[in-house]
Symmetry: C2
Subunit: 320 residues, 2 copies
C-alpha cells in the first residue's frame, strides 16, 4: 500500500461517494463475476442516489452476466468525472487503454491485500470475500435499499469469488449478506445455475483441452495446465468461458499448487496459481513480479513454452 | 402424510426430545451428507444434554465424513430405546434391516414433502433446505450451544443438500444458519473442499474420457457420452469416482437430454438419462424398459455400441 493513498473506513468511503455528482466506475480487464457485479452494483447504488454513473472496463461484459448488467441505466458522464475503481488491485490490471484513468482514481474499493494504493483514497478490506461484499456494506451505510437488481449484482460477485461459498474467504458476514440479498429478491438459484452449472459448448472444449494438458510434478503436489491461444480461438470462447479454468487442476487430490498457463500472445503467458493449505500462491507469484491472494494469485512470464514451464516448475520446487 | 402421525411444531419436537433419556437415531440407507450430518448432529445435541444417543444406518458412513462422525461419543442404548428418524421419508428407505425399527419411530424429523407419516410424531418442514437445518433450529430451541463438532455436522448436511447453496431450496434462513455455524467454528471451507472440490486422479481420468466421448445430436439438444469398461479398469476408479459423471453433459448449454452410456460387460450398457425442463427422462427410459425420475432416469441396453447408440439417438428424436 503506497503512502500516497489514504486508507479510509467504510463510513469515510460512503462519505466520499456521497460527495460526487457523477462518477466513472472502472474495474479490471478480463472481468469476472466480482468485477462485473461490483462495478454494476456500485453504478446502481449511485444511480439510485440520483448520481450519474457509468461503468467502464477494458473488456466487454459477457451476456451471461445480464442479471448484473441489466439494472444499470446507460448514462453519459463527463470525461473528467471522478473515477472510482472496484476490485482493481493495480492500475496495470485495468489494461493499457484504462491505465491512465485508473491512475487518476480518487477512490479504490478493493479486497485485495496486494492493492498498490494508486488511488487518492483506498477503502480496502482484505477480509471481504469479494469486492461485492463491500458494495453491500456501502449500500447499508448509505441507507440505499437493496433492490432486486442491486442484490443480483452483489450476489453474482459474492457467489463467483467464493466458488459459491466454498472458499476460506467466506465468512459469517458473507453468509449474512447473502441472506439479506435473498430477502431482497435476488435470483440466487438462477444466478448460481448460470455461473456454476451451465457450460457453453466452447467451455466444454476448453475444459477438455485443459484436462488433456495436465502434467504433474513433485509426486503429484504440482499440477500444470495450459490453454493455448489457438484453442481459445478455435473454440470461439468468450472471456467468461475461460474464468475458473485455472482452478480445475487444484481439485485433484494431493495437488498443493496448480499452475494454469494461458497463452496471451507470442511467447507471452499469464499464469494463474491456485494453492492448497501448504503453499502461499501470492508469494509464489511474487517471484515473478506478480501477486494476489494466498490461495489464488497470478503473474506473467515471457519466453517459449518449455522455458516458461521449466522456470515455473523450478520455482514450485522451492515451495513444495 | 398419514393421519396416524401427529404433525408437531419446532417447540413440540424440542419438548419430545427433552422427554427422552436415551434414543436410537436412524437415517436412510446410501447415506449422503444430510443423512450423516443430521443423525450425528442430533446425537451430539442429545449427548450434550446428558442423554444417551446412538446413530444407526443400513450402510456405513464413508471416511470423508469424519468431520461429522468424529464428534459422536460411542454409547450403548437399550434395544427398546425410543427411535427418532432424521431425513427418512419412508420406512423402506431405512433398508430391510431397519424397516421395523423405523416403524416404531416416535419422532420423525424431516424436510421431504413425501414423508409418509410413519412416526407417532412428525416434525416436517419442507421449506428446510436440509434435515440439518432442522437440527440447527432444534439446537437453538433447546438452548444447546453450537459446538464446533455440532456445527460441522449441520454444515455438512446443509452444504451437500444445497449443492453448496446453489439450489432453489437455499433460503435466507439457510444462509443465516450457515453464518451461525461459521461463528461457532465450523470448518466450512475444509468441509466444502472435501465434499465438492476433491477429485481423485482416477476421477480426473474418467472425466477426461467422458468429455472426449461427447457427441451431439438434434442441434445440440442431445448429448451422448460413453464410459468404457477399459477406461474404468485402467483408471483404477472406485464406484464413488463414477457417481455423477452422467450429469456432466447435462450442464452444457442447450442440452435438453444427456445420455451417459456405461459399458458394464460385453455388448452390455447401462444408460443414465439426465434431462432439462423439456424432456421427461423417465418416459424416455421407459421406452427401453427402464424408469426413474423426470430429470434423472436409467435403462439397460444390449448390443454393439453403434447399434445401441443409434437406437438411443432415434428414440431421442421422438422426445426432442
Amino acid at each position: 500500500m503506497s503512502l500516497m493513498s489514504k486508507q479510509v473506513t467504510l463510513s469515510q468511503a460512503a462519505e466520499l461517494l456521497r460527495s460526487v455528482e457523477e462518477c466513472i466506475i472502472l474495474t479490471h480487464r478480463y472481468p469476472d463475476g466480482d468485477a462485473i457485479g461490483s462495478s454494476c452494483g456500485l453504478a446502481i447504488l449511485l444511480q439510485s442516489m440520483g448520481k450519474r454513473a457509468k461503468v467502464v472496463c477494458g473488456d466487454p461484459f459477457a451476456a451471461r452476466f445480464s442479471h448484473s448488467t441489466d439494472g444499470v441505466k446507460p448514462e453519459t458522464v463527463s470525461p473528467d468525472a471522478p473515477v472510482v475503481t472496484v476490485d482493481l488491485a493495480d492500475v496495470q490490471l485495468a489494461g493499457a487503454e484504462y491505465t491512465a484513468l485508473a491512475e487518476r482514481a480518487f477512490l479504490a474499493i478493493d479486497h485485495h491485500g496486494t492493492n498498490t494504493g494508486y488511488a487518492d483514497y483506498t477503502f480496502l478490506d482484505r477480509d471481504a470475500a469479494a469486492a461485492c461484499e463491500l458494495v453491500a456494506l456501502l449500500a447499508r451505510e448509505l441507507a440505499v435499499p437493496l433492490t432486486r437488481d442491486l442484490a443480483n449484482c452483489i450476489y453474482t460477485g459474492i457467489c463467483t469469488d467464493t466458488g459459491c461459498f466454498k472458499y476460506p474467504s467466506t465468512s459469517a458476514r458473507t453468509h449474512r449478506i447473502a441472506a439479506e440479498l435473498i430477502d431482497a429478491g435476488a435470483d440466487a438459484a438462477a444466478i448460481s445455475r448460470i455461473m456454476f452449472d451451465t457450460k457453453t459448448p466452447a467451455r466444454v472444449m476448453l475444459e477438455k483441452a485443459v484436462m488433456d494438458s495436465i502434467t504433474y510434478g513433485y509426486g503429484g503436489k504440482l499440477a500444470v495446465t495450459l490453454l493455448s491461444k489457438a484453442v481459445i480461438e478455435e473454440s470461439g470462447a468468450e472471456e467468461a468461458d475461460i474464468n475458473g479454468l485455472s482452478a480445475m487442476a487444484r481439485q485433484i487430490e494431493g495437488v498443493e499448487l496448480a499452475l494454469f498457463l494461458r497463452e496471451t500472445g507470442r511467447e507471452r503467458y499469464k499464469i494463474s496459481a491456485r494453492s492448497g493449505d501448504l503453499v502461499d500462491a501470492a508469494a509464489f507469484c511474487a517471484k515473478f513480479g506478480g501477486g494476489g491472494h494466498r490461495r489464488a494469485a497470478g503473474c506473467k512470464l515471457e519466453g517459449d513454452l518449455d522455458t516458461v514451464r521449466q522456470r515455473l516448475i523450478e520455482a514450485a520446487g522451492e515451495v513444495l
